[in-house]
Symmetry: C2
Subunit: 228 residues, 2 copies
DNA sequence: ACCTGAACACCGTTCAAGT
DNA sequence: ACCTGAACACCGTTCAAGT
């Protein structure tokens, strides 16, 4: 049933059509079912026909990952200041990621979205941070913290998590709204920290004395000696 | 070359031996090379022999994930208070995860470590949060935020990330020490937020006005109506 | 340039044996 | 109970054709 075509005949495939079919297949059957062969079956072509439009399965998924980020809403210009803008931007990202929860682990597993939409997102964040008074290395640190937190939380929202054994009774499934509140709270803490401590050099610890790791922690591999 | 054994003869396999070989194989050749067949090859048995000691590949990896968490150091009892203890605990977790970076995406991809070591970690965190004055639902929120942040940051430390296009020159690989500093900063912000706002109901927003999502964000699927 | 047939080098897992 | 041989139902990708 897959094909009634002869080597010379075209099927009218497009790179965009392949991407769209991949999106549909993922939505209908999940990540495990997103195989090149299943994709070819759905498009009614031979498996290797896809390689005329896509370099590899990895490349295909990279494109899908960046495509998702296009849905993120840019914050309205200066609604309530740059921090509110950042809050809005990260919350929109969180919502978009939740709508494509199957893909979220892939953001973390691979090099992590380097397409044009990811670039645009990073640009916007840097701009908003600058308007908040956070520049240079501090801005890049804040960027990393916000992205890590947002993608990480999205990854954990759908699937269950290391929960405390206490109150097993109350461990019923959390609703999407409750997780959104949870996400929002942590996000506010991070933003508060970014604006208040974002410009300090970070070598003095107001809460803690020791910054290094305990011996045996296993991280002392390529510490760059940091002279002076 | 794989076997010179006859159906009746034993190979002396143990569940522990299989796990150890899986750890070695992962360390030597990476996650992609950790297949049941490669594992069997290394143990010099037929591929299906493994299923006498392990229910499935998924079960095997679940065990490996929890095994890793055994390396996390419990904080010294009340060194500088419970918040310092939490900082120490999360930093140790971060270091342990970095030492097994290949496994980190798996924590996020699957249900996320439910073994005895994960339980122990959750217990300790809940205890420390309670000593910090954070109880009940607020404690569970804080727990989720801290775990998400720690695993998420570990996932992003080894592999590159959505970086800002600004200052491309300065985008050289960050060292392990710099990423540790970055992790530590965000962790301090979170801990500060947890202790200061941890007990508020969270329905008033000191920084932002709007809490809901913009229409079209795509999250309005199963909001539980929250009556009253 | 775009597609097919066939094949390569794999997977995880099951089933029926053997001792 | 523990292991093997053989097989099932798959993978992603390549190579040599055909028009």
């Amino acid at each position: 049933m897959p094909v009634r075509r002869i080597p010379g005949q075209r099927a009218g495939l497009t790179r965009a059509a392949v991407l769209a079919a991949a999106r549909d297949l993922l939505a209908e059957s999940g990540l495990a079912s997103l195989t090149m062969r299943a994709l070819a079956r759905r498009l009614d072509v031979a498996p290797n026909a896809l390689y005329s439009h896509v370099a590899s399965k990895t490349g295909l998924i990279d494109d899908m990952l960046d495509e998702v980020l296009a849905e993120v809403q840019e914050p309205a210009i200066d609604v309530e200041g740059p921090i509110a803008g950042l809050h809005q931007l990260m919350t929109s990202t969180y919502a978009v990621l939740l709508a494509h929860s199957d893909l979220v682990p892939l953001y973390l597993a691979r090099q992590g979205a380097r397409g044009p939409n990811a670039q645009r997102l990073g640009d916007t964040m840097i701009t908003l941070l600058a308007r908040s008074g956070v520049h240079g290395p501090a801005a890049r640190e804040a960027l990393r913290v916000l992205i890590v937190y947002t993608i990480g939380f999205a990854a954990f929202t759908t699937r269950p998590l290391i929960d405390p054994p206490i109150e097993i009774e109350a461990r019923q499934q959390l609703t999407t709204g409750e997780m959104l509140d949870n996400f929002t709270n942590g996000l506010r803490w991070l933003l508060a920290g970014i604006v208040t401590h974002g410009n300090s050099s970070g070598n003095d610890h107001p809460v803690l004395g020791a910054a290094g790791l305990q011996p045996g922690g296993g991280i002392a591999q390529e510490q760059p000696a940091s002279p002076g």
